[in-house]
């Protein structure tokens, strides 16, 4: 059998630049290939490219030839209390070898247990036991892929009685133990801040910003059908709100430019709308750079 796997050339192993990128969506494949928009990089969920062949690989290969790429996993269950899925590690490794991404990331969350995959990023209690398990899992994933990964702070809707370690401290310690980097999702900070009743700016202040290798920005939904209180749902289904842009600018002022993803998974708009949000992130990073040089 002849497998027609096109070689990756120009951007093979290219690092993801400290600029804005967007999540690659199937409906934008052709427009991106035809118009080749000025953009730092693209990110995909590797699980969507775990078929053997076909159009998804064809288009990703074509786009990969012109842009750096980031693989953002949603299925590894690093925060779970069961051993990692070896078959999934193997599939993930094959994709890393094939596409040579500049960044690889996963979540402080779980999504699989007892042989069932739930397709959601579920919360874990922040205990010493969970910290020990996730340290093993991150080590295992980094060893399997032969590279370091980034681990993302989750958006949460509940807290665990047993949680004893603040999330910022938990992530900092996981990074310290494993050498992994952190993916700071600024929208998740905002969403969890409202849902759990903490100040998102204080969260950023407490975060191990020196370990941040990527930032995510997205829109969310405010639940309107609840009798009292506020509940934000991290649905990646709308434009980024001003409060989250402000929190982003506050973060960038402390980190300097960081690869920043515009993440959109629902109500996917025209490519131009996502590029406009990416341009805004780039502007914030550039103006921060100018301020830093001037001072």
């Amino acid at each position: 059998m002849t497998l027609s796997v096109a070689p990756i050339t120009a951007y093979s192993g290219a690092p993801v630049p400290a600029q804005a990128g967007i999540g690659l969506k199937a409906r934008h494949y052709l427009e991106i290939i035809e118009t080749r928009p000025a953009l730092g990089w693209f990110e995909v969920h590797p699980e969507n490219y775990m078929g053997a062949g076909g159009p998804p690989h064809h288009y990703l290969t074509a786009i990969r030839e012109n842009y750096p790429l980031s693989l953002h996993g949603v299925g590894m269950a690093l925060g779970g209390d069961e051993p990692l899925d070896k078959a999934h590690l193997k599939r993930f490794r094959a994709l890393v070898e094939r596409y040579q991404p500049g960044l690889v990331s996963e979540h402080l969350a779980w999504c699989r247990r007892g042989g069932v995959y739930y397709n959601d990023l579920l919360p874990a209690p922040y205990t010493t036991a969970t910290l020990n398990t996730i340290t093993e899992h991150i080590d295992q994933m980094q060893t399997a892929l032969g590279r370091t990964i980034l681990v993302e702070n989750p958006s949460t809707y509940v807290a665990f009685e047993d949680s004893a370690i603040p999330e910022t401290e938990f992530l900092a310690e996981a990074a310290r133990r494993t050498g992994c980097s952190l993916l700071l999702d600024v929208n998740n900070v905002y969403v969890s801040g409202v849902n759990q009743g903490y100040d998102p700016y204080a969260y950023i202040d407490a975060f191990a910003l020196h370990a941040v290798g990527e930032i995510h920005m997205a829109g969310h939904l405010e639940e309107s059908l609840i009798p009292s209180g506020r509940l934000l749902i991290d649905d990646h289904g709308s434009d980024i709100i001003e409060e989250v842009w402000n929190l982003y600018a506050y973060t960038i002022a402390r980190t300097g430019p960081v690869p920043t993803l515009i993440e959109r998974d629902n109500n996917i708009p025209a490519l131009g709308d996502l590029l406009a949000e990416a341009a805004r992130a780039d502007q914030i990073m550039q103006s921060q750079n100018r301020r830093a040089r001037a001072s």
């Binding site: 247990r113 069932v116 209690p125 665990f160 609840i226 209180g229």
Partner: protein
């Protein structure tokens, strides 16, 4: 170090039990209450998996309507949740579920439509391979032809049905003109194939389904021919070979 098991087991079990209690070990520090909060996870699980099934089975959704499809998908998810994060494989059991779902017993042909949509999807994501051209067959010594075995393209998926499934599928594509389909118009076997970029669905003439099925089981050409004739006296071997070769069905001859 604490060795208390994490409360993830009860959390996981409660996700697929919409009417059940909120699992223990989780709290709401402020309003809204814990049930409202936990239900966000339940909704996320169901909504995202229903979306995944809808993406894979657009014709089933069109035939049943959005509301019915959602309800059916929920039942399927509770009975057969995915086992792997590779959701493009999820739905392999959907046809079998439809077949045994009591409220759908009147639509006896519906399960085969689900099989056809899954075949389309499997063909779409199958490995790429270069089909053999006519020249590869011209070299074969005529006397050897009955004993050759033909390897099908990795995307090849055969769906055999006693119902006119391809007609129903085509009638329910976006932009197709709605029209009545006579369910007694006859059986349709379909070969899903993606020799290049696009998935093609080939409606098969009588005998061709048995022929392809035998080749898929690695039977030599002669046996496949016999199987085809057993299904239909009118099966034309030369015409079928010419059609399947030009459609890019084969990748190896041995």
């Amino acid at each position: 170090m604490s060795n208390t098991p994490a409360p993830l087991a009860s959390f996981a079990n409660a996700l697929l039990d919409p009417g059940g209690p909120v699992p223990g070990g989780i709290i709401a520090a402020l309003e809204p209450d814990i049930k409202t909060r936990f239900d966000v996870y339940r909704n996320n699980v169901f909504a995202s998996l229903i979306d995944a099934l809808r993406d894979s089975f657009p014709v089933i959704e069109k035939l049943l309507g959005k509301t019915y499809f959602r309800a059916l998908a929920r039942e399927f998810i509770i009975t057969s949740p995915p086992e792997s994060p590779v959701l493009l494989e999820y739905g392999a059991g959907f046809a079998g579920f439809i077949e045994t779902f009591p409220p759908l017993q009147d639509m006896v042909w519906l399960a085969d439509i689900a099989r056809l949509e899954m075949a389309w999807l499997d063909a779409y994501h199958a490995a790429d391979a270069k089909p053999l051209g006519t020249e590869s067959f011209a070299k074969i010594t005529p006397g050897k032809i009955p004993r050759i075995r033909l390897a099908l393209h990795p995307s090849a998926q055969l769906v055999r049905s006693i119902w006119p499934i391809l007609t129903i599928w085509k009638t329910n594509q976006d932009g197709a003109k709605p029209c009545e389909v006579d369910l007694d118009q006859g059986a349709e076997d379909v070969l899903a194939l993606r020799p290049q970029r696009e998935v093609e669905l080939h409606g098969l003439a009588p005998g061709s389904g048995a022929f392809i099925e035998a080749l898929m089981q690695n039977e030599p050409l002669e046996s496949a021919h016999q199987a085809a004739i057993a299904q239909s006296d009118n099966f034309d071997l030369a015409a079928n070979l010419a059609h399947f070769i030009s459609s890019g069905t084969f990748i190896q001859v041995s």
